[in-house]
Amino acid sequence: MAATRIEVPRSAIAITLNGERTAVEVDNRTSLLDLLREQLGLTGAKKGCDHGQCGACTVLVDSRRVNACLTLAVTLDGAEIHTIEGLSDGGELHPVQRAFLERDAFQCGYCTPGQICSAVGAIREAKDGWPSHVTEDLSAAAVVLDDEEVRERMSGNLCRCGAYANIVPAVLDAAGEGSDDGTDLPRREEFHPIPSVEEVAG
């Protein structure tokens, strides 16, 4: 019997991926994680659970850390996405990547891309004065990061190897690094969203 082709709804989207404009067509069901890994060949972000429970898939969308496994790619038309592959600047590692190397903050490395992207987002959140569950004084304008704060803020990233003892100091090192905020990404407000597919099509 001839195989029947089942038509599944698809959509065209345009994103800026690690600084490069990328136009793709996706099955509406495709997660950002599957788009990156299966369609675009960027296998840095990992699939640990596919349910938002481990953080291995963490990437930055418009400078904010999110779980790529629960983000539908079809929703991202016009978005700016940074993955682990786009954090280094030419040959120059990102401060968080450097800190992870210097502190030996991994064993098997499976959770590491997610940990690093999450740390970039978490450092930005702390610099923006966002409190956390363990912040005692909610009225304090500035956040002082310490072990407890980093553990809480990074709790969305599990490490099966238990490299936490080195991850925490690595994040603290990167956060304290002189450069403005330990991230080289523009702030959310500074993005000039690229025109979406719809806008271009008029």
């Binding site: 709804p9 099955d27 509406n28 629960l70 569950h133």
Partner: protein, 327 residues
């Protein structure tokens, strides 16, 4: 995942009209619950109406002192908002105790209110569940029920509303505003989530197809003296076994007014009206706190697996009220 059509809503009326036309369509906000449940085939919408580009953002202080929070505001932005931190610390604390940094960046106020139960039978489409498949039975009552309800459950369902934010909003007497094809309407938090009764398939009293547009938090003179405490199996990134949102107004050791809501014990955030009534006008002492919450929990009907929630809730409430009485 079942294939679905996707469209991006440009205006509220259009979004509401689409769901009116296609009752199998669903709104999509952060997707942290809906996409997960679609992957599990618990939710199988024909179409997703993406509400993320609607103009439903913003946290605005209104002329009467109420704070209006747009349905699209992300949980992380709400928790960090200076007005919320100052006037309603209980709301910031509840949000900060939930999920992870990544999930809070995605999760919206509207989606958070409508997140579904974490009952393992509901989330497993190979199992019976009256909420997912009316009439199929409730295996939880004699099965895995450690996380589930001790108050207001029925013989058909012992699921809980698992969220934290709604517990704080219940303590704060917030009002949920929404839009239907018939126009704008609202529900108080006390009447938003419902008890399961003989129709556990419905989590809330929100009319079908309604689009939540904002949540209004009325002014509360003693809102600054409020907090949230959550007990869970690990210290972070876990749902509550039980939680308490409370606000307290004490003068000279006497309670003038208070708010108590308990989370993860019922199909809805449980406003502890019996305890509040007993404590209004009484001395702010731990023995009074304990007597009041015991009276509240008098009607609790736990399973063997979740009977621990009674002493847990008792200690949480006494602890939180004591903390608020002695800042």
């Amino acid at each position: 995942m079942k294939p679905f059509e996707y469209e991006r809503a440009d205006d509220v009326a259009g979004a509401v009209a689409t769901l009116e036309r296609d009752p199998d369509a669903k709104y999509l906000a952060g997707g942290t619950n809906l996409v997960d449940l679609m992957r599990l085939r618990v939710e199988t919408p024909s179409r997703l109406v993406d509400v993320n580009r609607l103009d439903l953002g913003g946290i605005v202080v209104e002329a009467d002192g109420a704070v209006r929070i747009g349905a699209a505001v992300r949980n992380s932005d709400l928790a960090a908002d200076p007005v919320i931190r100052e006037r309603y610390p209980v709301l910031s604390r509840a949000l900060l105790s939930a999920a992870s940094g990544q999930l809070r960046n995605m999760a919206s106020v509207g989606g958070n209110l409508l997140q579904r139960t974490r009952c393992v039978y509901f989330m497993d489409s190979s199992k019976p569940c009256n909420k997912r498949e009316p009439g199929s039975g409730c295996p939880a009552i004699v099965g895995v029920s450690r996380e589930l309800a001790i108050l207001g459950a029925s013989e058909h369902c012992i699921a809980t509303h698992p969220g934290d934010m709604a517990v704080a909003l219940t303590a704060l007497d917030a009002i949920v505003h929404f839009e239907t094809a018939a126009g704008p309407d609202s529900l108080p938090m006390s009447g938003f989530h419902r008890l399961p009764g003989d129709d556990p398939s419905r989590d809330t009293n929100l009319p079908p197809g309604a689009l939540i547009t904002s949540v209004e938090v009325p002014p509360l003179s003693f809102g600054g003296r409020s907090t949230y405490r959550k007990a869970r199996d690990r210290r972070s990134y876990a749902f509550a076994l039980a939680s308490v949102a409370a606000a307290l107004d004490v003068e000279d050791g006497i309670i003038r007014d208070l708010r108590i809501a308990v989370g993860a014990v019922s199909h809805k955030p449980w406003r502890a009206t019996v305890a509040e009534e007993l404590l209004r006008g009484s001395p702010a002492t731990p023995d009074r706190f304990e007597a009041a919450i015991r009276a509240e929990l008098d009607i609790a009907r736990p399973t063997e697996q979740n009977a621990f929630k009674i002493p847990l809730v008792t200690r949480l409430v006494v602890g939180v009220l004591d903390e608020l009485a002695h800042p």
